[in-house]
């Protein structure tokens, strides 16, 4: 398998990261809530096994989703929900600025990746994209899509420019223009067909909505024009919806 080395090195990197992280200095905070509950795992289903009181100093070991792994003064380690730490204090007595993700982070996002699923001229399409914001309104997107139909499969690679109408709204419409290439491979069960690559241009509109944390919902319509080597250009409409995450 071509990608097995990549995966193995990623695994190795993950293990090495944990080995190296053992002696890292930890962020320390003071509990301001009457008490905090330590769970055995990062989730609602894991039981509470320890309680630390107001005024105690705790070290924040790591974070997973909305849960923080903390170490109390007596050495116990457990997972505390983010809500119980929102009022904790830094060592200088100032409120600890919890690195929570919210709408303001959405507005200041730089990078975004997402995946959308839908219909591309009657074929099922799975699209994956990466995006970079230049201004709050304007961003550039790189799309890789695969359309799997009854008679042919297509792979699309396009570069798009996207204009978001109201970047400070939770849900906002947007417009997009793009260009790229499409490679069409007819099904093997059809006879006397050849693969072909054509240029493609597109215009589209959609809506995106901030959900929570890094999560964004997005739905869009795109009208494509395929510049074929035949006499007529081909027009394909595409509908899709999906989710993206920003960084």
């Amino acid at each position: 398998m071509r990608w097995s080395w990549l995966v193995l090195s990623l695994c190795q990197f993950a293990i090495a990261g944990h080995a190296a992280g053992a002696e890292r200095p930890l962020r320390e905070v003071t509990i301001a809530d009457p008490f905090i509950e330590l769970h055995t795992g990062p989730g609602r289903g894991y039981p509470i096994f320890f309680v630390a009181e107001r005024g105690e100093q705790i070290a924040l070991v790591k974070r997973r989703t909305e849960w923080f792994k903390v170490r109390v003064a007596r050495g116990q380690e457990g997972w505390v929900h983010f809500e119980q730490l929102t009022t904790t204090l830094d060592l200088d007595g100032e409120p600890f600025d919890l690195p929570a993700l919210g709408f303001s982070d959405y507005a200041a996002r730089r990078w975004e990746v997402g995946t959308l699923y839908g219909d591309f001229g009657g074929a099922n399409v799975i699209g994956l994209y990466g995006s970079r914001s230049f201004t709050p309104n304007l961003s550039g997107e790189l799309w890789l899509s695969q359309a799997l139909g009854r008679f042919s499969d297509s792979t699309l690679a396009t570069v798009n420019i996207v204009h978001l109408m109201y970047p400070d709204w939770r849900a906002s419409p947007y417009f997009t223009l793009g260009a790229g290439v499409i490679k069409t491979e007819p099904k093997a069960t059809l006879v006397a067909t050849t693969d072909r690559s054509d240029s493609i241009a597109l215009a589209g509109a959609g809506v995106r909505m901030y959900l929570s944390r890094r999560f964004v919902f997005r739905a869009e319509y795109k009208a494509h024009v395929v510049f074929t080597s035949r006499n007529d250009n081909e027009e394909v409409s595409e509908w899709k919806a999906g989710f993206s995450f920003f960084f």
Binding site: C11, G45, V61, E66, D90, L128
Partner: protein
């Protein structure tokens, strides 16, 4: 006449007064600047750079198991997965796997021409799925040891390359994640991959069941 003299006198007095006043002020200031300050502040500014909190929302790992390819036998499958945990409940997973399929019963019994070439017989897939941890909790091994685990449901879309074509594939299933350490997990998964195939003349929906175990690391 008298009033004009008075105005002139007042104006000149004011002018001279302000000039000499300024001059004295400037002299005093220059004097102060030349003298060193009585107390030299000797405070080194502390750079406050609080340690970053390590976030572990990503999971990467490998798996191996058995994949039953409809008409083409039960085969060993191996693959890799990459997941991002969005909340304590939801996660998004990207997975890819590969298997070499066997001969169909027909090919084996008749001994006639083979349906597929060797490269067409390779089954590979990738998918993007959304999972939800429905039963997070502890599992007990013996009397003294508790392990964190979660049972999840997962489903998504993807592509299967088999018999010379790419096929749009829907997958769904259940899985179990057992976590001996909080950055290391062992998975056991049951997955159904569903796609339409027209290889044997007529289009039909094929169900391909996969059972695999795997390990993952959080980072």
């Amino acid at each position: 006449m008298e009033s004009r003299v008075l105005v002139l006198f007042l104006a000149s007095t004011l002018a001279v007064g302000s000039l000499t006043g300024c001059g004295r002020d400037a002299l005093v200031r220059a004097d102060e600047a030349a003298q060193p300050p009585v107390i030299e502040p000797d405070v080194e500014r502390r750079e406050i750079d609080p340690p970053r909190i390590d976030t572990e929302d990503f999971e990467v790992g490998i798996f191996a198991g058995q994949l039953s390819v409809e008409d083409f036998g039960v085969n060993t499958v191996a693959g890799a997965r990459f997941a991002y945990h969005v909340t304590e409940g939801f996660f998004v997973e990207l997975a890819a796997g590969e298997a070499d399929t066997e001969l169909t019963s027909f090919e084996r019994l008749s001994g006639a021409a083979q349906l597929l070439t060797d490269s067409e017989r390779e089954y590979s897939y990738y998918n993007v799925s959304l999972g939800y941890n429905i039963f997070p909790g502890e599992g007990f091994v013996g009397r003294r040891r508790a392990l964190n685990m979660a049972t999840y449901v997962i489903g998504g879309v993807g592509k299967t390359t088999f018999a010379g074509d790419d096929r749009f594939t829907v997958n769904f299933g259940v899985g179990m994640r057992v976590m001996p350490l909080d950055w290391f997990a062992v998975h056991a998964d049951l997955r159904d991959h569903v796609f339409d195939i027209d290889l044997l003349g007529q289009e039909k929906t094929s169900h391909n069941l996969e059972a695999h175990v795997g390990v993952t690391f959080f980072f």
